[in-house]
Structures are given as structure tokens and as C-alpha cells.
Symmetry: C2
Subunit: 435 residues, 2 copies
Amino acid sequence: MSELISAVDAVDVRFPTSLELDGSDAMNPEPDYSAAYVTIRTSGGDEGHGLAFTVGRGNDVEVAAVRALAPLVVGLPVEEVLNDLGGFSRRLTGDSQLRWLGPEKGVIHMAAAAIVNAVWDLYGRRTGKPVWRLLAELPPEQLVDLVDFRYLKDALTRDEALDILRRAEPGRAERAAHLLEHGYPAYTTTPGWLGYDDEKLVRLSKEAVADGFSQIKLKVGADRADDERRMRLAREAVGPDIRIAVDANQAWGVQQAIDWMRALVPYDPYWIEEPTSPDDILGHAAIRKALAPVKVATGEHTHNQVMFKQLLQAGSLDILQMDASRTAGVTENVAILLLAAKFGVPVCPHAGGVGLCEMVQHLAMFDYVAVSGTTENRVIEYVDHLHEHFTDPVRIREGRYLAPTAPGISAELHPDSVAAHRYPEGPVWEAKAGT
Amino acid sequence: MSELISAVDAVDVRFPTSLELDGSDAMNPEPDYSAAYVTIRTSGGDEGHGLAFTVGRGNDVEVAAVRALAPLVVGLPVEEVLNDLGGFSRRLTGDSQLRWLGPEKGVIHMAAAAIVNAVWDLYGRRTGKPVWRLLAELPPEQLVDLVDFRYLKDALTRDEALDILRRAEPGRAERAAHLLEHGYPAYTTTPGWLGYDDEKLVRLSKEAVADGFSQIKLKVGADRADDERRMRLAREAVGPDIRIAVDANQAWGVQQAIDWMRALVPYDPYWIEEPTSPDDILGHAAIRKALAPVKVATGEHTHNQVMFKQLLQAGSLDILQMDASRTAGVTENVAILLLAAKFGVPVCPHAGGVGLCEMVQHLAMFDYVAVSGTTENRVIEYVDHLHEHFTDPVRIREGRYLAPTAPGISAELHPDSVAAHRYPEGPVWEAKAGT
């Protein structure tokens, strides 16, 4: 009898990050970084782990959505799933009843991401490869089979996608070797959370430079005078050669974004991230036109490939910030990497949160080895929170992500961490409820 | 002590519509029309009812989302809520943690819709007015206070919205009287479900004309030869003077939509609805340009006002099809009606499902009395399913919705219907599980 997927387990895991104001920004004053943590099990005893990241309240809704998708997955033959991961994704995102809850957006799409990533993790473990390498060794034809071109063809055809992948094919081995030796460039958001005082901002900015980072990021958008002062302090702290990105987390309207950013231009911001509603494709295009050469970056809340297609078609961004669990996981992100390559826009993945650094490094490294073929103007976000809870945490050296070598997508949490942080019954939350 | 909101109850209600293939279309072959049904209760003993419509699986996720929002609502003073319904909506859609699940889209936004509509229902009951009339009697200043202009200003300013409402103010009483006497024009989707055979299509099309409808709608997009035959049969059945709209329910890519529709042009389709992904603003614009004078209609899956803003800015649509529970209820729909009026695009609300006819009639009638001031080229969708479950069902006479006169938003289900159709424990579902 063939091996089947026997279970899709989902656990509500929350970390009490609000106590330290880690992760505080203009829209998220007190997040508790959380995950709908998914484990796929097979009848042969294999496992795969994935997660959808949330910032606290509502993580239970995400878990409910994973459980709503689970019946579409349990009972499927493992080999059939792994041999047609494009079809597997369409099964999850195209269910005729569940797609009403999106379609392909929000809670239900993030739940699909957690499951899809868990299946890629399973695939990596069974082949003994980290997912970046697994992807980078697939033939171009198999990679384009992952893509659902129905809504993309007006911007990217299957033949164009194949051409992109075939052009990059000859250099794959060389770039993989380079990656294993030198890692992939990172930037750090650690200095710039809104909840940190000026002294901490300056100290952490200097530490970031000393640690080898060539780019840092500040959160902005709550108070304009504060932002001008913090940007000036950061610039003084890091000197003229370090890039400083700023991130408004959607705080502004279109004209407001343009006006506010003009006040920061004297301090040479490298990019403005999420200046306005993540849905506002035309608004981002207007902001980009007005603020050039300051770059516009967005993507962590961009909910699917159709939105990314349009951001690229409309000239709305200079930097595409894909997320590991906002769109439907590795499979949809392959399509988004191909779209970005077609339009010549660098991908700098969103990370931080719970497990996002761990997962997105695989996407950026695959992009370097087998899609764009370059790390020029590409950096993966790095935040130094919560990595200790993962069995294969990211490794940063001199401002670069070292390539993971363990099989899978690096999303497995330590069982002790899961047990301690289960919400609401885990001991960490029981203790807080008691105080 | 002031009166407080004492409870937000949510119930999973599902109707077994899949048995009859009512509601079958290119993307929804076997829906079970369902609702996350919300009852708001006050410490003074008042109630308000609202719902989010879904098509079956996942309705439990919607209920979980309502329960996640409920703590933001329970305990609020009723009068404060009713005096600042704009602020109340922003409280629901702007919660710093729950907004991560959207933002302002999908499951969490639909849950906000159900609660917002229940509060408007409460407001209507307390003032003794149907919601269309309640809205149409509010001063322009109070109406614009409902709107969150942060992301809209580049398309619609507060002053422009005020101007639109003030221009319509002198004729309010006259139009309200006309509405009460003559009702509001409707069109019917009843003949055209994909699951119906040709004989039923022809018979129901003729019946629709005999019943006084001047527009019908056919579902298309599953099979091109079938669509050509069905469109020809429908045109022969109704004659040249009845408008026939077609609805692809997102089945096509951009070029595919253009090609497929050109095959139907000989039978004079009035509009093509949801030709492609609901997120594809630029794709809709390209389709509209290619197919004119066939009109392009969309909106039932358009997830928020920022998307509608762009559909209007980009010239993507001829007909705006707002939904009662996809965007965040009455409050956000006031903003969308104002946007549509600014751009001169008629609003023809999406209905059918569970309670959508009941709720959207209030929006269209408010639009007529106090915003656009006209019913020209405007029709409310009508489907003759499930109205018997409502305490104040829609009334259709000679192809027109009669204006509701009972207080509230008409979303209250009969308690017996709720009890019978609770999922999975209601007797209707217990009986099906036993067969």
C-alpha cells in the first residue's frame, strides 16, 4: 500500500514579545509574535513542519483555517503530492468552498502557506536537502510546472519563465558553491523599533555596523519630528556609507507618504517600505514616481501573485519583499521570483517574526542560484529574535546568512518550545495569567 | 449606568443548497449557502442581527473570526458606538494584532462586516427605521464622518464627499416617496445557473420576463460551446430588448476573457461579470478596453475600499457590484458609494446567497435617495432562494424590490431556521449525516 499523509496537526504557539516592545512599529505597538504551527505526518513515519506567522490575537483563527484545509490533505499519497506540488497548491487554494474566504488572501491563504511549506519541508527531509538546494537542483521544466499561469500570462508566460530558468542553469553549481562559502547578504531591523529610546537606537545602530551589516532599517510613521530626529541620530551613528532603509508599516496616505518622506531625504534614506496600504498598487506607483531616487519597497502584506504581478506591471516598486507565509508558501513564491526576474526587480524578502528568517533564506538562496543569478542589491532581512526556539536556526556571520545545510525548510520548533508556548494552556501563558 | 453591548453571539448556519445545484457556477460547483450569523445584545435587552455569507466549508473559520473580534465590542457603551460608527469600524478593522490577518481582507474583514451590519441593524431598530432610511436621513456631515479617508484622499477628499451628499440633499424626500411607491429595479440570476439544463434555462428565462424583469444573468466560463449555445437559447427566449448579463466567476485569464467573450458578442451580452481574478485591477482595465461596448462588472470579491478606489482610478469597470458582507459592512459601503458617485460609475449590488438581497437593498436605496440620486442603469441582483428563513424577507413586485419598512437591516433569521440549520448539530445536518 502506498504511503499516505496521515495527519495535519496545527498548534497555536505564542511568544510574549510585547513585554520588551521587540517588534513595535507604527501599526503594531505591542505584538506577541505567534505562529499557527503545522506538522504534516505520513503513514511511513516522516514529518514536515511549516507555520503561518501572526502577531498575537487571531492566531487561533489561523489555526482554525489550517484545520479547515486539513481534510483536503489527509489521505493523499505522499509521492503523488511531492511529484505534483503545483497541483497540490491549486488543490488548497482552489477548493470551491474555502476559496470564498479569500480568494487567495488573508487567513485562508496564510493557512495554505503553512501547509505548503510543511510539505516542502517533508520533501526536503526525504531527499536529504535544504529546500533552497532542492529547488535549485530541479530542472527548469519541473519548476515552471509549480506555477499557476492562469492569471499571470499577460505578464509572464510559461515560455518566458522557462527562458529565465534556462539562462541561469549553467551557473548553478558555481553559485551554490559560492553561497556555501560566503553566505547571502543580510540587513538588520534590530536597531530601529519604534519602542526603543534614542540611546538604544544609536547603540544598536553602531553595533550593527560593527557586526558587519551594510544596511539597517528604522521604523517610522508615528511622529514626524521623532522620525527626523531618529533618522539624523542613526545617520550620525553609522556614517554615510551604510544604507538606512525606513519602514512606515502602511501608516500613511499617498500624499502624506510623499510629504513625510521628503522631510527625511536630507538623511539619505535608501528605501521607504510599506508607505501606504499594501493593496494600493497605483498609490505605490505615485509615491515611487514622486520620491525617486529613494526606492519604494513593499510585499510583506501583498497577498498573492496577482497583486505582485500588478505591482510590477504598474512600476510600483524598486524592491520586492516576499514573505514566507503571506502568499501560499514556497510554491507561489517560485512564481513571484520568476515575475520579479522578468521585470528585473530585486527580491529582498521580509523576515523577523517567528521563523520567517528561517524560511525566507531558502527562497533568496534559490533565487540567487537558479533564477536571478545574482545577489546585487539583494539583502535578506534579519531580526535577532526567537531563533533559539528552532532546531535549525539561521546562522549570521559578518552581516551574511550562512546557507543552511540541514534537510528541509528550517521551520521546525523545539518540542519544548512548543509545549511551553502553547496558547492559552502552555506554562508561559499560565504563569502570565496568574500574575 | 449606561447601556452596554453585553454579547456578540456567532452561530454557524448552513443550508444544504448543493442538493439542487442552486447557485452553481464556474468556480462553485456545489455550494452549501451558509452564514456566520451574528447577534449583538445590549444590557437593555435590545438586539441587532448581521451575517457574513459563505458557500459552505470554512463557515466555521468565519465564526471563529467573529469570536476573535467580539472582545473588542463587548462592554462598549451602546450610545457611544452608535454616535461614532466610523470610529467603531476603525476599531474593528484597525486592531493592531487582528489586522495582521488581513489587513482589511478575507476572513477577518468579513467577520467585521457581520458585526458592523449587526450594529447598524441595532441602530435601525432603536430609531424605528429601516437602515436605508436611517442612512438617507443622516446629515451629510455625519455620513462623511463614517468614512476613513486615510487611503482614499488621492481619489476622494472629505470636501468632495460632502459636495456629493449636499447636491443630493434637496431631493431626498421626493426620492424616498418615489421609492416607497415604486420600489427599486432588480434583475434576476435565477435562470442562469450552470447546473441547469437547457430546458430549465429557457423556461426560467421566459418566466423572468413574464415576471417583469428587464435583465437576466447567465453563468458562463466552464465550457465555451455550452456558453454559446446557452447564450443563444436565452437570447431567443427573451427577445432583443431584455438585457442579458453574463458572469464568469473569475474563470479566465485576461486574454482568455477577451477571446471567450468575443464569441458571445453576437448574442449581445450586456455586461461580463468577474471575467478574471478579482484582484486584477489592471487586467479588468485591459478587458474593458478590449470588449467595449460590452460592459465590465465586478465587486463581489473586491475586498476593501482601497481596491474599489483603484478599480475606479484605473477605469477597470462600468458597473460596481458592492457586497454586503465582503467589505466591512454598511460603514465601508458608504465610502464605496461615495467613490462610485465621484467617478460616475453605477452601483449594482451583488446579492443572492444568504441574506445578501435583504441587506444590499438598503445600500442601493440609500444610494438612490441620498448619494447618486438616480436609479438609471442601476439594478439590484435578485435570486429567489432562502428568503423564507428571514423575518423581514425581500419583497419583489414586477421586477422591482419594494422598499423595506421594518426597522433594521433585514438580516434577522427566524429562530426556527437557525435551530434547524446549525452546523453540524442542527437536525437538518444530523439527518443528512444519518443517510
